[in-house]
Assembly symmetry: C2
Homo-oligomer: 457 residues x 2
Amino acid sequence: MKHTDVKEILLNPSLIGTDVTVCGWIRTSRDSKNMAFIELNDGTSLKHLQIVIDKSNFSDISDYMPGGTALKVIGTVVEGAVNNAVEVNAKEISVLGACPGDYPLQKKRCSLEFLRTIPHLRVRTNTFNAVLRVRSVAAAAIHRYFQSNNFVYINTPLLTASDCEGAGEVFKVTTIGYSDKYKSEEEYYADDFFGKKAGLSVSGQLEGEVAAMGLGKIYTFGPSFRAEKSNTQRHVAEFWHVEPEIAFAELDDVIEVAQSMIKYVISDVMEKCPQELDFFEKFMQKGLRNKLQNIIDNDFEVLDYTKAIELLQNADVKFQYPVEWGCDLQTEHERYITEKIFNKPVFVTNYPKEIKSFYMKQNPDGKTVAATDLLVPGVGEIIGGSQREEDLGKLLSAMEERGMSLSEYSDYIDLRKFGSVPHGGFGLGFERIIMYMTGIENIRDVQLYPRTVGNIR
Amino acid sequence: MKHTDVKEILLNPSLIGTDVTVCGWIRTSRDSKNMAFIELNDGTSLKHLQIVIDKSNFSDISDYMPGGTALKVIGTVVEGAVNNAVEVNAKEISVLGACPGDYPLQKKRCSLEFLRTIPHLRVRTNTFNAVLRVRSVAAAAIHRYFQSNNFVYINTPLLTASDCEGAGEVFKVTTIGYSDKYKSEEEYYADDFFGKKAGLSVSGQLEGEVAAMGLGKIYTFGPSFRAEKSNTQRHVAEFWHVEPEIAFAELDDVIEVAQSMIKYVISDVMEKCPQELDFFEKFMQKGLRNKLQNIIDNDFEVLDYTKAIELLQNADVKFQYPVEWGCDLQTEHERYITEKIFNKPVFVTNYPKEIKSFYMKQNPDGKTVAATDLLVPGVGEIIGGSQREEDLGKLLSAMEERGMSLSEYSDYIDLRKFGSVPHGGFGLGFERIIMYMTGIENIRDVQLYPRTVGNIR
């Protein structure tokens, strides 16, 4: 079906005066005495295209009015009366698909809560048109950022027999499922697809390190899974994860890449999605554009964990969770640091080793590890990263202290045995940065089909 | 660790005469009377950087010779003696990580079979450096192709309660796994994470259609899973899948997008990976470059299934599987069509409806559907696509004929109820096109960690 995208018609002034074929769905329509007007959208643009109908040329326009109806229109592109917008004066209209009166999106504005009950239709709203386009542009920007900096995109396996220890609860994968045939776990898994217990990856980091030891600089961008039963605005069972890993790098280098990547992605979205950001500024978060511009214009803060604890202890605020050296930072602490003290993103660095993972580089002080979390005003943690322990002996003792099985991690240990190098990386929760850029507060509203405990469709 | 990528040193002539810091692993080394030479690689380039050591400046070079050792070198970039290559004359060398004698990659050339036993180390070989870089460049090209044509990148869920009927065996996902606690399947799944049976997606198509009905043109690029126990060179349990879906499109439009995407990706890899293609031409497949150029230069064939059957019936070849109208094409038939008759990619179209899926558009002849498979010489099918049935009544009768549950597909059916439009799309097995571009014959060798029955790490 040869036709012209709505986006092209709206953005390309050379089409004015020409005839085009345009397809789309009716978003709104209004009928007056001699004329009728349809706001048509084909999904390529947040802005609709106005179709102008001179009723004297059409015997009956009632088919062309119900919201949700799919039309094909042939007409002439003309300059519109207002806002320099172009319009199409209809010559021929045909209905591709009618839309009956029980269409759930007839109402003018639906709440995000209501829209979650119709995930298969909510993509037809302005909000999801805008969110999903920002998501797409941001994903493309992430690829462009890494590719242009000599990173190799790799796909780490999602089906895995190991777990990235401590990262979260793991879904099991099986071809058996329920069965009363097996007398023991051993028998069951011996008969399963992989012949042993398998699960869904919570992080590609360990395999990312494997790849970085051959390709130098790599990044993953794919799904990760957490079987956590928490029901918060910030957690889902399936999310997209960006995990670069950099050979010949120390914590400073990891922080530098994280900061420049975030700035690049936000700049790119601001450049490519001006209408979408106007929409979010208007309907989701006042001050959104200033907030994003502020990110681009300023260096992020780098704050030692020990210093952060001091600042929190000296704060004239009563926290629900007490603050002392060695504790994990709670949301209230993170918000105080990013929103009250610095009002910008903050890399907190060098956490106590007891609250961080076995693979993180042990600092010379014997107490902390070269880890960093990036905390962002309004959203909280969006990045967690570290330099990795490259010393074989120190890695082994950290694993032994935690009672981990060395044989299960023999591949990982080999990386420290054969040509080990300083290296590090981070993980970005992709949905978190989309929430930040759109002002949308519930992670369920930045995914097409969110998965949470008890909720699958 | 400030340093310069090997790729930059090799490609940037302005560095000649300057001092650089370069890091990498020793690929090979040789020692002569007064001089020693190291081929250093940091993963950013298939080509190594030669480090030249004047032995009179170093007391003992034995640490700098074992393959696999990680070094940091400070030295001067100079023009090399041969092939216009640049070299680095070493001033200071330090060992970042030693590599003991039991390093499995000491041997000069390892077979692909052997390398499959050490997936965590094989990324350090030339072959996997080249394969994974081509894979990365091709992935970036796919994103660029779709983004520049107004497609929105979406992420369809991998955790799913439905299956894209007939596409393949499904892995189950559970937080329970083995248990002797439950008396029935109902009890078991009622207690599971999602409160019902869930599995891993075999295709994002159905959700892709949902998204296209809002966003017009979308593509997915993510993993799909098949729990098939077949052990072939072309199948794995986890693969990456590219699935565009296009609103206001008929079969011709789907074919046009598929062809132009394939040509774009191959052109881009030829432009950005000349060294890698030279390597594959030399070690994997003679004639590779000609084969790829041929793809770019010629239109693909479009061949009606009925005509294909005639051609096969008239062939002076004895096929193992007999050919008659209504049969599915076997590999031998596909190869005959693409390799013997046309010697180029062929879109076979309009298959008998009995051998295709319920969602495909029924042609007016009452016998065939508007489906297409793209068959490619040497690899076989790499794309399967179709126009989708947009007529509610026809869709429902196709589902009823197959005994499918309408209530499980109510979201999908709604798409035909509310503003239905002609649309279509296709699925590309990403690994298949990587195999085609590299000449690598086993799909296990174009993934970092392949997953097959009985095989997980």
